[in-house]
Structures are given as structure tokens and as C-alpha cells.
Symmetry: C2
Subunit: 202 residues, 2 copies
């Protein structure tokens, strides 16, 4: 990497850390310059505006999410193995993020009634992941791993709900059993849609 590129990466790294802690709205060029021991104009040389920086942070977060959760999962066989891998890798990522927080979830609260490019960028990332999960569920139906009458959108709604609860309870309530509860709920949810039906696997 050239020097300029290295600096950009280092700034982005620090920005990601700040945004995870204080939210995307808490991210300012001033704070970041302090953290990097750079001048504000030095930061501006790499990111033209605060909004550019916020969007770059979302994209970098998404890139890491894909690298850690999505790509290794799609190496699993289509169907339930892949859906399970997506879920478990997502939970694992959250369990490491307990001290920092998930930008998708905190960003949703920050921008749910704040239209603009940052909300649009977040929305696109969150929607892409939701679609990937729904696709994996559909493939599990096609593969005969889940019952033919499974409502995949409903199933993924409920799977995502568990991750929201995990984020809330692990971070805000500091509940030690949130990961275990999330995994148990997922097992029951899948059992509800498995062929042949398992009697109340929960």
C-alpha cells in the first residue's frame, strides 16, 4: 500500500471504532483528528466531508461483515447448513461486538427518522443481508431441509428478531445468558419448520 492509502485505512479504522462507541452521529472530523493526532485538514484530505466519512465507515463495516459472516457461510452446502452458518457466524460476530456494538442496529435507531444519504446507505446494507438470509431459507426449502409450506420471510423476520434481542440484552441489560437464549430460540424456530416435524424441540 502507498503511504496515502495506509493513512486512509488507519483513519477508517479509528472512525469505525468511534462510530461503534458513540454512533455514526457522534463521529466528527474533530474527534477523529484528535484520535489520529492529525490536523482536521489532514483528515479532510482523505474524506471530503463528514458525510463522506460516515458513508465510508458504513461501507467498511459492511465489507468486514461480509468477510466474517457472509463469505465463509456461502462456502457451506446450500440449504440448512448454509442458513445455520449465517446465523451462527452472525451471533459470533455479535458476541465479539458486545463491548462495541453493531453499527447496523445502532444506526437504524439513529437514522430511522432522519432521511438522507447515510440512512440510504445503511438501508441498502441491512436490506442486502436480510435478502441473503431469505434466499438461504428458500434454498433450504428447495433442498427439502425445511417444510414446503415454510414462510421464509416470516422465518427470517423471527431469526433477525433474535439478533436484535441479543444486541439489546447483551449490551444494555448486560445479560450473560443472551447468546445461549438466542441459540436455543433458533433451534426451536428451525425445528418448527423441519421435515419431518419434530415435536416441540424447544
Amino acid at each position: 500500500m502507498r503511504k496515502g492509502e495506509q493513512t486512509r485505512v488507519a483513519i477508517l479504522d479509528a472512525a469505525l471504532e468511534l462510530a461503534s462507541r458513540d454512533g455514526l452521529e457522534g463521529l466528527t472530523i474533530g474527534l477523529l483528528a484528535d484520535r489520529m493526532q492529525m490536523s482536521k485538514s489532514g483528515v479532510f484530505a482523505h474524506f471530503g466531508s463528514r458525510e463522506d466519512l460516515q458513508i465510508a465507515v458504513i461501507q467498511e463495516y459492511h465489507r468486514r461483515f461480509e468477510e466474517e459472516v457472509f463469505y465463509p457461510s456461502i462456502r457451506e452446502p446450500r440449504g440448512l447448513p448454509r442458513l445455520r452458518a449465517m446465523f451462527h457466524r452472525w451471533v459470533t460476530r455479535h458476541s465479539r461486538e458486545i463491548t462495541s456494538g453493531c453499527i447496523y442496529i445502532s444506526g437504524a435507531v439513529e437514522y430511522d427518522d432522519r432521511p438522507g444519504p447515510i440512512r440510504d446507505e445503511l438501508l441498502q446494507m441491512v436490506s442486502a443481508w436480510k435478502m441473503a438470509l431469505t434466499r438461504a431459507a428458500r434454498q433450504a426449502v428447495e433442498a427439502g431441509h425445511l417444510r414446503a409450506d415454510t414462510d421464509c420471510e416470516q422465518l427470517i423476520y423471527e431469526v433477525r428478531a433474535l439478533i436484535f434481542a441479543l444486541h439489546h440484552d447483551a449490551r444494555f441489560l448486560q445479560a450473560h445468558d443472551a447468546i445461549e437464549r438466542t441459540e436455543r430460540a433458533f433451534l426451536r424456530l428451525i425445528a418448527n419448520h423441519t421435515v419431518p416435524p419434530l415435536a416441540h424441540a424447544a
Copy 2:
């Protein structure tokens, strides 16, 4: 009400609206004074500090939540009818809050890594409601409405998860089917724990 008390109530009302929109951290004495067409010192006369105001907002939010969700529900018979009422009134409250947002959920994201009196106040309110739900589930087991082997804490974890998903999808994704999905998931969840077991009511 005396004049002073009326003014305090009007300020609190405006503060609640601002906090629902911009978050508790977005609530400032300055913004509120503007909104009320009062001087800042006029607002300070009723709330000694910004933090006092934020805490008063949480308490007022909680009072309204109890009035709308908790008290009418506990008039229902113990057991499943009461648990159902708590859930449905909670969903209804969210469906009206779609344009403003829930201070408990946005507050959890704002204060999950920010210790202090505001976090403590929020935590107390959120924990009280979680305990009330768990108690209602236990009574449903005692009444024989839910199976004896129901893990009530797990059940309530999953019920709360649905409300987080509702808040996220209705507000951030602007999904029109979030309420319906939430209700369907609740039915399946209850069916999973009903005696005699219903075969996959989902």
C-alpha cells in the same frame, strides 16, 4: 392544577416529543425553550438540570406506558389472557409510535455503553416491564395454560425479540407487514408452549 404545575406538564410533554424524535441525548434545554417559546431560565425553573429533565422524561414515558399497557392488562384474568393482553397492548402502542419511536429501545442504544443515572433509570424501567412479562408467563404455567416445562424467561426473551424487530422494521425499513409478522410469530410461540401441544400452529 396550579399554573406552575400546568407549565411543568406542558414542558414535559414537549420534551417527550423531542426525545422520541431525536433521542434522550438530543434533548437540550435550549431546544426545549425554543419549542416552548420560553427562556432557558424559565425551563430551568422547572427542571434543575438537563439530566433532571431527561430522567423526568423517562419517568413520564414509563407512567404512560404503564397506563396504556400494564394496568389495563392486569385487569384480564391471570394466565394466558393477561399475557396476551400485555403483548397486544404493547404491539398497539408500538403501532401508534411508529412515527415517533420508543424511548426504551432508542434509549438502550444511546446508553448501552454510557453509565450514569440516565442509564440506571432506563434500566430500571425496562427491567420492571421484563419482570412483569415473566411473572405473567409463570402465572400462565401455574394456571395450566402453558406447559409445565415452559422456560418462562426464554419465552419472554423471544416475545421481547419480536417487539425489537417490530420497532426496527416498522421504523427503519418502513415495512408494512411488521405488525402482522409480529402477531403471527407470537401465536406460533404460544402454540409451542400450549397444553395439549398443538402441532405446529404456525
